[in-house]
């Protein structure tokens, strides 16, 4: 029982953390949160199932194609739903535009793919049991992403350019950094991370269109609790969330578990609106 809670909880927590990182990468590039982060996770699972199980592609090809689709969708998000509304940030139009785009993709998936959860193919041809791949694949993905981002931001020029754009937009532009292209690249990167999350977690979550709203919420909790733009906080919060959810599942059952998660989330957020690790709100006059 305990091992089931721990392995499932940490694994699903890694997926939530990765979606949280998706949110953060988009936020870093544009100061905006996008509802499409959860949808990216859903697409990773659905497209993986489509390419590998339904269309019969080899696993590696399906994997790369799913990630490419994620990058593409990330770029589409930037062009269609974020760039046009960046001018009036105070009106918060980005909430609506990204919500609309996310809804469109979700509904399209529901109608064209299925309204029912579909199975996700087994990725590695290894027998089931013990510390199964459906558990360690998401964890591996999480580690790879966290380490990769760290290397990117600290040790490559592109990564440091991303950070510059996030820290001080005007200064970065004044230095001649191509802001728009960097933002698109950030969104593409976020798309890849989101799709990776959904693909790695496909066996656990199944290929289901309703994963999108679920991941939108559960992927945001790590961001809210870990602090905006704080990837390490997101990982810790995501793992805690996954474990808490599983414990609640075992103790009180599915329905009450989600009520418990929501309630705790809202209470924590009201107590500390900037998150458990975040910084306070800036001046506005």
């Amino acid at each position: 029982m305990i091992e089931s809670i721990v392995s499932y909880g940490l694994a699903v927590g890694c997926i939530y953390a990765l979606i949280g990182i998706t949110y953060n990468v988009m936020f870093s590039a544009s100061r905006v949160f996008s509802f499409t982060s959860g949808t990216l996770g859903m697409l990773g699972g659905v497209l993986g199932s489509l390419f590998i199980a339904r269309m019969g592609m080899p696993v590696a090809a399906g994997f790369l194609l799913a990630l490419a689709a994620g990058a593409l969708f990330g770029i589409v998000t930037e062009i269609v739903a974020v760039r046009p509304v960046l001018k009036n940030l105070e009106q918060h139009l980005y909430v609506l535009s990204t919500l609309a785009l996310a809804l469109m993709i979700q509904q399209l998936t529901a109608i064209e793919w299925s309204t029912e959860p579909q199975p996700f193919p087994r990725l590695l041809n290894v027998a089931r049991g013990g510390f199964d791949q459906q558990f360690w694949l998401p964890m591996l993905a999480c580690i790879v992403v966290v380490v990769g981002l760290e290397l990117l931001y600290r040790h490559t020029l592109v990564g440091r350019a991303f950070l510059a754009i996030a820290e001080d937009n005007y200064a970065a532009r004044a230095l001649g950094l191509p802001e728009r292209r960097l933002r698109m690249a950030s969104y593409a990167l976020a798309g890849v991370i989101g799709a990776l999350a959904g693909f790695a977690g496909g066996e656990m979550l199944l290929a289901f269109f309703a994963n999108a709203p679920m991941l939108t919420f559960y992927g945001f909790v790590p961001v809210a609790l870990g602090g905006m733009g704080n990837n390490r906080g997101a990982v810790i919060a995501g793992l805690l969330l996954g474990l808490f959810e599983q414990v609640a599942n075992f103790l009180v059952g599915g329905i009450f578990a989600s009520v418990a998660v929501f309630t705790v989330f809202i209470i924590v957020l009201l107590a500390r609106p900037e998150g458990l690790a975040g910084a306070a709100v800036q001046r506005r006059v």
Partner: protein, 602 residues
């Protein structure tokens, strides 16, 4: 010239939106009323069902409109209140938990429950950032549905409960339709009343110009509380009606799609409008009925519509129907203030005392924004505050008007220390200000923007506005007349009905001054009001400010335009790096060596 004879500027003059345009605004509503009343004559039973559904949805959306369209809070998960209202009404009339109650009483109790929960769901908006609040409302929507599923003993769980049946004459299909239609009409009337009240304007101020709203004395918590209570109550009533319409409710009837529908109806309709969201609701209810395949795609289409609206016409249907604001404005407009009207606006002069800063200090991190500043603003004088960029001028203004808390020192009015960080209290003390960048509600008219400045002078309560009781109407007349007078003072009365975002920059600045004048301020703080004005306009501005001071107001003028400063100020304080560099009369300052070298040059 465009000076008008004094008689034409009587209260309620032709320049103010008159009865003709009021009728024009009411016409679409009257048309809908007529169509709705006569609907049974030409609509069949099926369309009656759809029409009833649209009325029920509108009851909820009309309240949510105040939250989303007026207050600008992104409450996506409002279906939670529909669910609550539906279950409360149904369980109370079914008699599973309590002895069966009559349906009207059940609806009333549901309204109370809805009001309370509307407040619970909505209040996080005061603490949380926009996106976070949106997500928490989604969370609430899910919690309510899950609780409905789990609490089998009360809600029947997945099996559900039968809905309430209204007594005669409302139990037949058309009888029920008229009941819902009546409630929808009442909700339209009430929310239209709020929209045309100081509360409605205050809500739009919170949405689009929150900082300026606070300076005008508008309390966001109080206002949002009123709105969430009302909105929650009508949403719950809509839930009870929904249950009656369905005749049986199960948790899976309250989908997220429904929440999205309500939300999108408001956005398609347009912010700050009643008619727009009303048409939006009708449109979205009716649209999927026109072709069977559309029903499955309905949410997709709503989302596409939302995206198009956000990207192309953020103003929605309301913007499309806003014919008045398509008429071209006259070019070559000049702003000609009428300072002679000031005594009429201010009435009898009073002596507020001296506004004093004593050794005020404020640092941001390692930067000493203000470093031990002493300042005195006397009534009937113009006090200039100048200095290089970053010397602390705006920070000083912000401390006086209560946006920042000083870390040491005090701000006193008549030797009484002003409460720290209480920017909303400043309006009550008759301390008014303008801002470095004009902060106005772009979607509202110039007149409405100016009326926002006088919000604290209204006496009627929110409920009185809902029901358009006499005190509300008196407030409106008073505010309108005062605002027209203030606009006449600054010379903009011809632009009163024009949308603020169509104005030129200089006109925006003068509008802000008119808004500040609504308070008949004892002290007027101006933050670079001459920026972007033409030379001619600066001269007129100077004359106006001098006249305002002559009337007894203490004016603090933060400026870069040296000519204006030296022309109209009685005293000047020069700041540099948060400290006072020099203070004195214009003549003294002009020849002060350090000032010249640090700032004035030459």
């Amino acid at each position: 010239m465009m000076d008008k004879p004094a008689e034409q500027l009587r209260p309620g003059s032709a320049a103010a939106p008159g009865s003709a345009s009021a009728l024009g605004a009411a016409l679409p509503f009257l048309a809908l009323l007529l169509v709705g009343i006569s609907f049974p004559l030409f609509g069949g039973g099926y369309w009656g069902l759809i029409a009833t559904r649209a009325c029920v949805y509108w009851v909820l959306v009309s309240g949510l409109n105040l939250v989303v369209g007026f207050a600008g809070q992104i409450a996506i998960g409002w279906v939670a209140l529909l669910t609550l209202g539906a279950y409360t009404t149904s369980v109370l009339t079914a008699g599973t938990v309590t002895p069966p109650l009559p349906p009207y009483l059940a609806l009333l109790i549901a309204a109370v429950v809805g009001a309370i929960f509307g407040l619970i769901i909505g209040l996080p908006a005061l603490r949380l950032r926009t996106f976070y609040f949106a997500i928490t409302t989604l969370g609430f929507a899910t919690i309510v549905t899950q609780v409905a599923l789990a609490w089998q003993s009360v809600t029947g769980g997945g099996v559900g409960v039968p809905g309430p049946i209204l007594p005669e004459p409302f139990s037949s299909q058309w009888g029920f339709y008229y009941f819902c239609f009546g409630l929808a009409a009442i909700c339209t009337w009430m929310t239209a009343n709020v929209a045309a009240s100081r509360f409605g304007r205050a809500l739009t101020a919170i949405r689009d110009a929150e900082v300026a709203a606070e300076a005008s004395g508008i309390s966001k918590p109080a206002l949002l509380t009123a709105v969430f209570l009302f909105s929650g109550a009508v949403a719950a009533v809509a839930g009870g009606l929904f249950a009656a319409l369905q005749s049986y409710i199960t948790p899976d009837a309250f989908t997220l799609d429904l929440s999205i529908l309500f939300f999108i109806a408001i956005l398609i309709g347009g912010h700050g409008s009643i008619l727009g969201p009303l048409l939006g609701t009708i449109l979205l209810t009716v649209l999927p009925e026109f072709a069977a395949p559309l029903v499955a795609w309905s949410t997709f289409l709503y989302a596409v519509l939302l995206l198009v609206i956000v990207l192309v016409i953020p103003g929605g249907i309301a913007e499309i129907l806003d014919f008045r604001n398509r008429r071209p404005l006259e070019s070559g407009r000049a702003i000609v203030p009428r300072p002679d009207l000031l005594p009429r606006l201010f009435g009898a002069p009073s002596d507020p005392g001296v506004l004093r800063l004593e050794q005020v200090a404020l640092s941001f991190g390692g930067v000493h924004a203000i470093d031990g500043l002493d300042l005195e603003i006397h009534p009937a004088q113009v006090h200039g505050l100048i200095g290089p960029n970053g010397s602390g001028k705006t920070t000083t203004l912000n401390v006086i008007s209560g946006y920042y808390a000083q870390q040491s020192g005090a701000v006193r009015l008549n030797d009484i220390a002003l409460p720290v960080l209480a920017c909303q209290r400043r309006a009550h003390m008759r301390i008014a200000r303008t801002f470095q960048t004009p902060r106005l509600v772009g979607a509202a008219s110039v007149l409405e923007n100016v009326m926002i400045g006088g919000t604290v002078d209204g006496e009627g309560t929110f409920v009185e506005s809902l029901l358009s009781l006499p005190r509300h109407r008196r407030d409106e007349v008073m505010l309108r007349d005062t605002a027209m007078l203030a606009l006449a003072v600054v010379g903009l009365e011809r632009l009163a009905p024009v949308r603020a975002d169509r104005l030129q920059h200089s006109e925006l600045r003068f509008t802000e001054i008119a808004r500040a004048l609504m308070l008949r301020p004892a002290f007027l703080l101006l933050d670079e009001p001459a920026a972007g004005l033409s030379a001619e306009e600066i001269v007129r501005l100077g004359a106006l400010l001098k006249a305002i001071a002559r009337g007894g107001t203490g004016v603090l003028l933060v400026e870069h335009h040296a000519d204006l400063i030296f022309d109209i100020c009685h005293h000047i304080t020069v700041l540099n790096l948060g400290r006072m560099l020099a203070a004195g009369t214009p003549a003294e300052i002009r020849s002060h060596r350090e000032v010249v070298s640090a700032y004035l040059g030459g």
